[in-house]
Symmetry: C2
Subunit: 410 residues, 2 copies
Amino acid sequence: MVTIDPERFRETFERYSEIGRTDADGLHRLALSEEDREVRDLFVSDLEDLGLEVRIDRIGNVFGRAEGTDPDAEPVLIGSHLDSQPYGGRFDGQLGVLSALETLRAFDDEGVEHRRPIEIVNWTNEEGSRFKPALMGSGAFTGELDLEEVLEHADADGVTVAEALDRIGYRGDDPVGPREEYHSSLELHVEQGPKLEDEGLSVGVVEGVFGMAWLEVVVHGDADHAGPSPMYSRKDALVAASDVVGAVRRLSNRFADDVVTTVGELEVAPGSINVIPSEVRFTVDVRSYDDAVVGDLVEAVEREVETACEREGVEYDLEEIWRIPHTEFSPTVAETALAAADAVGASHRAMVSGAGHDASYVNEMTDTAMLFVPSVDGKTHNEAEFTEWADAEEGARVYVETVKRLANAK
Amino acid sequence: MVTIDPERFRETFERYSEIGRTDADGLHRLALSEEDREVRDLFVSDLEDLGLEVRIDRIGNVFGRAEGTDPDAEPVLIGSHLDSQPYGGRFDGQLGVLSALETLRAFDDEGVEHRRPIEIVNWTNEEGSRFKPALMGSGAFTGELDLEEVLEHADADGVTVAEALDRIGYRGDDPVGPREEYHSSLELHVEQGPKLEDEGLSVGVVEGVFGMAWLEVVVHGDADHAGPSPMYSRKDALVAASDVVGAVRRLSNRFADDVVTTVGELEVAPGSINVIPSEVRFTVDVRSYDDAVVGDLVEAVEREVETACEREGVEYDLEEIWRIPHTEFSPTVAETALAAADAVGASHRAMVSGAGHDASYVNEMTDTAMLFVPSVDGKTHNEAEFTEWADAEEGARVYVETVKRLANAK
């Protein structure tokens, strides 16, 4: 069995975590920022130290290739992303890239032979915080996003992705997209939910990702004076919207056990203490592993919006702004990971992910699965994000063993 | 009976409405803006044309004084305000000032004798949109607000009231406050609600103003990822806040017939479509003519906040940021106005106001009442604000007659 070097793994993690570290031990390393440049430079240097062939494509995805013993074999793709949310955590993305790096280092230490080439990748702009959309690098690479279009997307200051890539020196020459067929792909990530911790497990083998839909609703009422306007005459956009917020919460109890429903954005105009709200814009996020349930949820939300607005006598616009079916990862890769977890002796379970990942896009291109390690209290996308180091190590052990098996698979 | 000149009254209204007129026939004339300067210049010039003694105090209140036949009699104070809400209407405030101006012109036309001096006033910054607080000029004049403190209040650009007064040349020399005892005061204003229109009446004699309380609530939840966070683990600040919005609406049906309740401001953080809201700040406005009911409402809102937050497992801070008891206007002045309305033959009713007015502060200083004219659809504080001209005229007729009676009262 290949063994990782736990001290090196942890020291590398700490070193990478210094770049963009926040006062509260989080990470502020937005895609294509100066901090992103710095961490990319370190990553490239670490790949070169391993003697890997490094290449950078036109969207800034960074690849390192370790050749296998069979020059004609299809490669295995491993890695994740190094960008962070604004004032996010140190584990989201970074732990996956560094587990892949530790895998190649462990192979190098022990001269582990692998028939297939192994490619390690750092995907550009997974988070989508500075530049929309999220999963940009993997989406462009797999052809799910239009490269020329996303290069022109601008941040809040009007800087485009292409310009930001130029500024940090990571607009590579390589064409974006696979040069050959891949055999398989594996991504390690923090769970971002509480299930593994609740069950006292170290590793989750992720067999799929929820389907989801996003709705945007704008409610149009009348902005009257909060004093002299009797209740019967009011058309209060916030009263109607609040009814929908409550209904969306209750819809999580409908249709299936795994349903999650969220209103994340809600803006009130004119937003004055003594004026009845005339316009409220809000979003609805509904998810389930069952695409039919997502469809049922969307219809149910539409009915709730209609009912709440009719009750209050207000008008509304409703738009479904995004819908993505559930992802079923490769049973072959997942079974390989489950067997590797058994072999390593790591406590584990099979599970599905409520959040999208680069692996979702990569799965469209080649057989893919993921490993999850626990997130303490399920916290993510903030500075308190944390994974017990013993769990991170256990995840890396399963990762290395799984990659070894994939890289030697027939 | 004194008669107004309807054509002059309307022409004057149209002329004043040109200053700060919006494309949608509303009025954008913020306190102490360039437009406010222009309309003040016109007002001063109109007062001088009537031969009035004009004076301007240190907070920019503009007074014009028509002496009476008895030099020792206490004067009657009439007027309202010429500033507007941002993109507000033409009637709010302005109609009251111009009804007072038309009153003095009508007296002048016919050489109507009045025993008491009559003072016309344009109060500075009634709206409170650019500079907080509202009712600034009347509040400082009556000693309810601290003059030196409000002079230092700044707008969003950091310009203080004192600087803005200097810029438009309306930081007068006169001390702020009454130079002598007043006999009484009368203000005409648009109703800003639908009651007069609903009952087909032209004039309301306002006998008082609602008491009210303002609460600010901040709910503290946890910003977790909308996908992988199971429903049971969520602490969603918006779900709790929305429950309170619904409860606040339902509380309008409690305690008394006249209760109105409003959530006007509500802000969500971090405000991302796939992140559970971690913090929601919102305001609650509760009003009734009965101060005990306002107290009951505040307690009921506090209980609802506590219950909703406990249900969701979130924390909160709640602050009562303002409470003002109801105002009872002078029965003597109101009865004079009712008798005048009968004499004029105007359709009318006695009523109370849900909104605060300069007259509320003035009532602390001298016997005061108000006249309301109808607001079409109850609309106010927006460009669609409208009063049928026949009603505006009828209101002015009752106003002139009431002022005549007050100015000759023993």
